[in-house]
């Protein structure tokens, strides 16, 4: 019998490999993850079968893999490039196929029953929402009075019909109104502006519907732009802002607070109208390249001026100021003047061209590897196989990119292994094939990033300068040190200018690639803007972050701690002139507004009013958050396109302002509950959602989990919809034109209650479900996706992106994230089924994984799978293999080196800017006098960035990083040299353990390092920064492996997808206790928080308790639902603080000692300024 000896036949191996295309925001919505094929059972073991030969395996591999791989590749590229019409059908086809396959497999898994799916959101990322939504969000519920007023004013003035008026009549009329904007009399200006605004709003009384109105808005705003209205608007904004500033500074006791408020409300109303005008103009003409130029042309640049307005919000009383409008406008102006995603990409390529780098390859590069990777490889081969010589790193990175030194620990360890000397080296073959192949791979995927080149150049420059300085010093320190320095800086400025010139003159081959003309103009704009905002950048960033904090977390604090009065103030940050109903706010207004019990149609007018106010307030908060996050993201992106160190500076400011922890906190608040599947979800077919429930029935649905409630579309009542309102109120009541005057600027700028109520009744007759966003989305949501709330998705993604940009390849900051247990929050983000949102959470997680410990990895394999599925891999991707041997010192040194570089770059390039722009009395004060109690935490580190006025700014950055231990730019002060023994005694031999521990517990070292005034000890305060190396992130210094293994045992976070409930186990509380220990605003007494509100609650903000800060102990964070009670400080200690640390309480006390002794006068001054 012949035994047929079959070769062992296995099914072709299912290679689980990363998809050949990584997910990006742009393709996130089109990517449906392919189903994972079930793993076939292994064939029964047959001991008699011979071992497969090497050839068999090879054959099998050849048969299976290449075909598969290429097929997948082409399909996916089509998927990605599916913009052309020919591939479009393929794409949708493929998509539906994939979908079906996925559904089938799911069904199989769940035994035939289609599983209850968590909602799939239909959100598609874009730079901004549709124009209708943007306009809608721009207006407040309270603006309606103004809108109506404009209508009446206009029609009483302009006799004929606008739509049929000739072009000349229109132009003349507009010119006349514009002319009025330069008048001195505010009332005249205001009236003219309101008429203009009515025109800019599309003269809605003459339109027949929303489409027509929108068309008109576009047309008229284009006309206005042609007529040069921008300059007039801008002039008027400047005038009124000035007025407002003056009013808010009036300290005349004769003027009562009420009078002042009236004047301010008037000015606020006017501001609001101008901001609306500007916003409509920018919104409509955003595509017009001339607008971008004009926005930069006005003096000062529009964006810069708006930034300064934002900074002014911190000054004194800004009650009722249209903050939301200001922020939205700033965002749009930035978007217009520096560009959207596409423009920024062009800019980046232009920058690359200037540096002599090839264009950045398109997004779908599969693999990347950096010169550093190759360098490491080169070193390792050179050490371990000394007989083989791989080409040096210069062969693949001609740009002279500097490589990291010292080397990463992991590489160093490999280098320590003994060399492997092979005795029989073939002399003919210089390099074995395996080596050749790997070199080839490195070469093929090599990618040199723009920032690495820029940073390398800057480093080289800095070293040159130091060298020169040193040489000059050696030259007996003769007086031409100064000259030498000057020469150098001048010559360097020269080269910087050359760079600009090169950018401007594309013909002059800038590294071989031509920079297109518009690109160079764009780069110039970024530079101009940056130059403009740089001197006060710290203030701006600080203010934006404080706004984020207030709008999102401040309210929670207020509601739980402060009396109702405070809340009332808080709700009205932006209400332009409408007094808040005192009975209005239930503490958690924002949260419960979507779950009112009474259907809208049965509400009384008061209830309705209250309901609208609440909904509007909620929307207001979300929109402010959206605007701020978008501004920050855009700033970061734009700066990065120009120069890496500009970007790093902004990032550093954000970090110093505790932006990272704030972002985490906000995300954790929003995504508290798991997104439970929508119970009514299956009932909605593609068209079902939009005409679904009126607000009443919507409210009767069982409440969603918070996350999904926050992320999915909501039916905002029609009353809040700008277009709806316009259409509902378009009858021209010429009879009333007589009593325009009566209506006109009544003291608080609102319509009589009767007419408002009338509006409410009018509009409640009409449909409630009117929501443009929904109708737009209806067309998009074809595959039963849950309609999403654009702005919240946008916010969440922006925030995650900011966080990622802050921490990307900065070990020190990543370690801080790890310490804050960011992974718990990020995992909540992962619960939201939207790839675009998950993407950045994944990136963040990926960077943390090396430090999270083995256990985390093994219990979170899903995350790791997702990382493989979606993120672009690196050739040397060792995030899983990397061991946890964190070299904290190294990370810190890296961070400090970076800071040094940043400050050197800025000193060199913008040195004159800081000294020359000596702050005017008005501007100067704000940086320091507004260290109010609002955010002790935030302000602590804020001081780092803008300490005493502006000039010390750069110096301070420098001094903050002068760290003898970590780099060689050791600059010891004379004073220190003389007194170092004293220092040794104080700091080394008799360490004041309480002080130092406490200090770095809370990051309060800043106070220590720069007391605003007054010396303590023998060492003068100015020297302290240089002699007290501090962790930039407080406690991370103690970070070590042991702690990780102890504390990152996170079994309580295990995450089971199927139960649909996020482990609200101890994991959550761990997070909360932990993060909030630092951030929790509840650490303050109520009275103090009242003060914290004052920058917008204004006059009425109580000023008592300004001293309360000194005795405020630390409390634990209370969830606002009050489930968990305030814990004793001692109880939480073991939860959070490392055993060898002192309770943080002491830290606060210690800190406050400093605050009170040093900066108390300023604080009180601030308080006085208000009353």
């Amino acid at each position: 019998m012949i035994v047929e000896r079959k070769p062992l036949s296995l099914p072709p191996p299912v290679v689980f490999a990363p998809r050949p295309i990584h997910t990006t925001l742009q393709n996130a919505h089109s990517v449906v993850p392919p189903p994972l094929p079930p793993t076939p059972p292994p064939p029964p073991f047959d001991p008699s079968a011979p071992l497969p030969s090497l050839n068999d395996i090879k054959q099998g591999e050849h048969a299976a893999s290449p075909a598969d791989a290429t097929e997948g590749l082409t399909e996916d590229t089509q998927l990605l490039n599916g913009t052309s019409t020919s591939t479009l059908t393929d794409t949708s086809d493929l998509k539906s196929r994939l979908l079906r396959a996925r559904e089938n497999s799911l069904r199989k898994m769940h035994g035939g029953e289609p599983p209850r799916k968590p909602p799939q959101y239909d959100f598609i990322y874009a730079d901004h929402d549709s124009i209708e939504n943007e306009i809608n969000e721009f207006y407040n519920y309270q603006d309606k009075a103004h809108i109506l007023e404009g209508k009446v004013l206009f029609h009483s003035d302009f006799a004929s019909e606008w739509a049929s008026a000739s072009a000349k009549v229109r132009r003349d009329y507009i010119s006349l109104l514009l002319e009025r904007l330069e008048l001195r009399d505010p009332e005249e200006r205001y009236t003219a502006a309101k008429k203009l605004l009515y025109i800019a709003q599309g003269v809605f009384a003459e339109t027949s519907g929303q489409e027509e109105q929108l068309r008109n808005i576009r047309e008229y705003n284009k006309l206005l732009f042609e007529l040069g209205a921008l300059e007039y608007y801008f002039g008027a904004v400047k005038v009124v802002s000035n007025t407002l500033d003056v009013i808010s500074r009036v300290t005349d006791p004769q003027v009562t607070a009420a009078e002042r408020q009236v004047a301010m409300d008037l000015a606020n109303g006017e501001t609001s109208v101008y901001l609306s005008l500007l916003c409509l103009m920018v919104e409509v003409n955003a595509k017009d390249p001339r607008l971008a130029n004009e926005l930069m042309d006005v003096n000062p640049t529009m964006a810069g001026y708006l930034f300064s307005l934002v900074a002014q919000l911190a000054e004194g009383n800004r009650k009722h100021y249209p903050v939301k409008k200001l922020l939205l406008l700033l965002w749009k102006v930035l978007l217009c003047s520096v560009g959207d995603t596409k423009r920024l990409k062009d800019l980046k390529n232009a920058s690359r061209a200037i540096e002599g780098l090839p264009r950045s390859p398109s997004d779908n590069v599969f693999l990347k590897s950096t010169p550093q990777d190759y360098h490491n490889y080169h070193l390792i081969t050179a050490t371990r196989y000394p007989t083989y010589v791989t080409p040096s790193v210069e062969s693949i990175s001609p740009a002279g990119v500097r490589l990291a030194e010292p080397l990463p620990t992991s590489i160093r360890r490999q280098l320590q292994q003994p060399p492997l000397i092979q005795p029989f080296t073939d002399a003919n073959e210089l390099l074995p094939r395996a080596f050749q192949e790997s070199v080839e791979l490195y070469r093929k995927h090599n990618y040199i990033s723009l920032s690495s080149v820029q940073i390398a150049k800057e480093k080289a420059r800095m070293e040159r300068e130091d060298l020169r300085k040193q040489r000059d010093d050696d030259d007996t320190g003769n007086p031409d040190i100064m000259d030498g320095m000057e020469d150098d800086s001048i010559s360097h400025l020269g080269s910087e200018r050359k760079r600009d010139v090169q950018a401007m003159r594309p013909g002059v081959r800038g590294g071989g690639k031509r920079a297109r003309k518009e690109d160079s103009a764009g780069l110039k704009r970024v530079e101009l803007l940056y130059r403009h905002i740089l001197p006060n950048m710290g203030t701006y960033i600080g203010m934006l972050i404080r706004l984020l904090y207030y709008v999102n977390l401040g309210n929670i604090v207020n509601s739980s701690g402060a009396p109702g009065k405070q809340e009332g103030e808080g709700t009205n940050i932006n209400g332009t002139g409408k007094d808040t109903n005192p009975s209005l706010p239930s503490p958690d207004a924002g949260k419960s507004s979507w779950t009112t019990d009474i259907p809208l149609s049965q509400m009384t007018i008061e209830q309705k009013q209250e309901y609208f106010d609440r909904v509007d307030l909620n929307r207001h908060k979300e929109v402010v958050t959206k605007a701020v996050s978008a501004i920050l993201l855009l700033l970061l992106k734009a700066a990065k396109c120009h120069h890496a160190l500009k970007f790093e500076y902004i990032a550093q400011l954000l970090v110093d302002n505790n932006c990272a922890i704030l972002i985490l906190k906000m995300l954790s608040t929003w995504l508290q509950n798991p997104p439970a599947p929508s119970p009514t979800h299956s009932d909605h077919d593609a068209s079902g959602w939009p005409d679904a429930p009126s607000s009443g029935s919507r409210a009767q649905q069982p409440p969603y989990g918070m996350a999904s409630g926050w992320l999915s579309a909501r039916d905002e009542p029609a009353e809040l919809n700008f277009f709806h309102f316009c259409q509902a109120n378009k009858e021209i009541d010429r009879a009333t034109s007589a009593d325009v005057d009566a209506m006109d600027v009544s003291s608080d700028g609102q319509l009589s209650a009767a007419s408002t109520a009338q509006n409410g009744i009018d509009s409640s007759d009409s449909t409630h479900n009117l929501s443009t966003s929904n109708s737009r989305r209806a067309s998009v949501s074809t595959d039963r996706r849950t309609p999403s709330c654009f702005r919240n998705f946008f916010t969440a993604i922006s925030l995650l992106r900011i966080l990622q940009k802050l921490t990307k390849s900065k070990t020190h900051r990543v370690l801080a994230l790890v310490q804050w247990k960011a992974s718990a929050v990020l995992k909540r983000v992962m619960k939201v089924h939207h790839v675009g949102l998950q993407l950045y959470a994944l990136k963040l997680l990926k960077s943390q994984i090396p430090f999270l410990g083995k256990k985390w990895r093994s219990s979170n394999m899903k995350v790791i799978t997702a990382i493989y599925m979606h993120l672009r891999p690196y050739l040397k991707d060792d995030f899983l293999s990397g061991d946890v041997d964190v070299d904290v010192d190294e990370a810190l040194a890296q961070e400090q080196g970076l800071r040094l570089l940043i400050s050197s770059y800025h000193e060199n390039r913008y040195g004159g800017l800081f000294s020359s722009s000596a702050p005017t009395p008005g501007d100067g004060e704000d940086s320091d006098s507004h260290v109010d109690e609002l955010d002790l935490i935030l302000s602590l580190s804020r001081r780092v960035s803008y300490d005493d006025g502006d000039t010390s700014h750069v110096r301070f950055i420098t001094s903050g990083v002068r760290n003898p231990a970590y780099h060689d730019h050791l600059d010891l002060d004379v004073n220190f040299m003389e007194n170092y023994e004293e220092w040794l005694r104080h700091e080394v031999y008799e360490p004041d353990s309480t002080g130092s521990n406490a200090l770095w517990n809370t990051g309060i070292d800043v106070f220590r390092s720069s007391p605003p005034n007054g010396a303590n000890g023998d060492v003068s305060p100015a020297d302290l920064p240089s002699i007290r190396p501090r962790s930039l992130f407080s406690a991370t210094q103690r970070f070590s492996k042991e702690m990780l293994s102890d504390y990152y045992d996170d079994t309580e976070w295990t995450w089971d997808e199927d139960d649909g409930v996020l482990g609200i186990g101890t994991g959550v509380s761990m997070w909360d206790d932990h993060a909030d220990g630092l951030l929790s605003p509840e650490n303050f007494e109520d009275g103090e928080m009242a003060n914290g509100w004052k920058w917008h609650t204004g006059v009425n903000g109580s000023t008592e308790g300004s001293e309360a800060s000194s005795d405020s102990g630390i409390g634990s964070w209370e969830e606002e639902d009050g489930e968990r009670n305030r814990k004793q400080p001692g109880a939480q200690e073991d939860n959070y603080y490392w055993p060898d640390e002192l309770p943080v309480q002491d830290a606060y006390v210690d800190a406050f000692d400093h605050t009170n002794s040093d900066s108390a006068p300023e604080d009180t001054m601030d308080v006085d300024g208000l009353t």
Partner: protein
């Protein structure tokens, strides 16, 4: 052999010979500043003939012509300011007023209130600076289209100077107008180029000391 034309006032020139060089037709001028010279010539020749001065001659660039006209107006207005100075002081006119309107001075980073004379000087200065700025008007041969919008802004603000003088210093206004016909020129320019709406022209047309020619709209190059 005719001497080469020297279109210039030599040092030591007699008063009666001041600027008394013959006008040459525009086509024959070869200087870079021919348009400016030509306009100055015409003004010197007969300032009351505003039609001839303002209207764009055949073959001339309309924008360039506007630009040069405006430059000339700014120059000539300086003489007006000299006349106004003793009359219009910070005490007599503490605010810039014309008819019932009060204006804020736009010559500052933040618009603010100035006395009338300051307003006038600031406005004139900023207009001159703007018209001479390399950024907006880099060449005197062609005008970048993006800078056109400045014409109307400058004109409007300059117009207010006349308005103020007319309502508050009428004698100076008349005295100056008789001599220079500058207001007539500006008014005709505004109408001809359709820079401002008629409603905004607060100074009546009979302030002019010459008959303002009718504007032949049909011959105008419309910019619609």
């Amino acid at each position: 052999m005719p001497q080469a034309q020297v279109l210039r006032n030599r040092p030591g020139i007699r008063h009666e010979d001041w600027s008394q060089w013959p006008t040459i037709p525009l086509e024959q001028m070869e200087s870079t500043f021919s348009v400016q010279q030509y306009i100055q010539n015409m003004v010197r020749h007969d300032a009351s003939d505003v039609k001839k001065i303002v209207e764009v001659p055949e073959g001339q660039d309309r924008d360039l012509w506007r630009y040069e006209l405006l430059r000339q107006v700014c120059q000539d207005l300086n003489n007006f300011v000299v006349l106004l100075e003793p009359e219009c002081t910070a005490s007599s006119c503490p605010e810039m007023k014309a008819l019932e309107w009060l204006y804020l001075c736009a010559g500052h980073p933040n618009p603010q209130q100035c006395s009338a004379l300051d307003y006038i000087i600031h406005t004139l200065d900023s207009a001159t600076a703007l018209l001479n700025s390399q950024k907006y008007f880099p060449s005197r041969v062609s005008i970048p289209p993006t800078s056109l919008k400045h014409f109307s802004n400058v004109t409007r603000r300059l117009y207010r100077i006349f308005a103020h003088a007319w309502f508050h210093h009428r004698e100076v206004f008349t005295e100056f107008e008789i001599e220079s016909h500058l207001y007539a020129r500006v008014l005709y320019m505004i109408k001809y180029f359709d820079i401002m709406p008629d409603d905004a022209l607060v100074v009546p047309a009979d302030a002019c000391m010459t008959d303002l020619p009718e504007i032949d709209r049909s011959s105008m190059v419309s910019d619609e």
